[in-house]
Symmetry: C2
Subunit: 103 residues, 2 copies
DNA sequence: AATTAATGCAACCATTTAGTTGCTTATTCG
DNA sequence: CGAATAAGCAACTAAATGGTTGCATTAATT
């Protein structure tokens, strides 16, 4: 399931920091989104590939550098997944409450 | 950051399936939440420990067996984290739009 | 009391992951 | 053109991960 891949992609401090940077909305390139992280350029690049594979980001080569953008839809799916879990849970608890009220 | 651990915990198909089962609200034990998964009991137990460490679930030993419950707050934090990312993004896009409108 | 059921602990193994370095390629800028 | 900048590809390594098995323990059942 795709949501597994999404959560896995977000489940790393470096990648989460990248995503946080991107969420500012400022335009980013591979270099800029990787700057200051305590890892090599190639290390950062691997993380970006994982995010791209999970469709958390989109890589857009433009001439010499490559733009990096968040994919809003994918993040939304993650949020929706959790919301659905919570809903299922709430529904069940509600059912229990009715049951108790009927006693 | 704790949210990293949360996402990492959710980023595995077996663990996500366990969480899905728990979200039904039906009471579960280690055995019941692990039943039918194509892994050994100990394999499943390791997954549950990871979920417990990330505070996605709570393990409650009661006599011979151990209850397993979802920790709603933690899931909520995950959802809130994504929501905040989206909000930051929206805010920025809104700012850009104003800028364009001012042209 | 004896058995069965539900766990826990620990050692071990194969694969994946996060990270590196070295080298190459392709734009852009002076 | 030549230098510098942004990036790609590949090979390699250490550590983490997901999985196993074997054995011990504790609690419920009959």
């Amino acid at each position: 399931m795709a949501v597994t891949e999404l959560f896995r992609a977000l489940g790393d401090p470096t990648r989460l920091e990248m995503v946080r940077r991107l969420s500012s909305g400022a335009p980013h390139t591979i270099t800029s989104v990787s700057s200051g992280l305590q890892i090599s350029r190639q290390g950062a690049r691997k993380h970006l590939q994982i995010l791209a594979d999970a469709e958390v980001i989109m890589l857009e080569p433009r001439g010499r550098d490559t733009g990096v953008r968040l994919d809003r839809d994918t993040l939304e799916q993650g949020k929706a997944f959790i919301a659905e879990l919570e809903l299922r849970w709430d529904t069940r608890l509600e059912a229990l409450r009715s049951f108790v009220d009927d006693e």
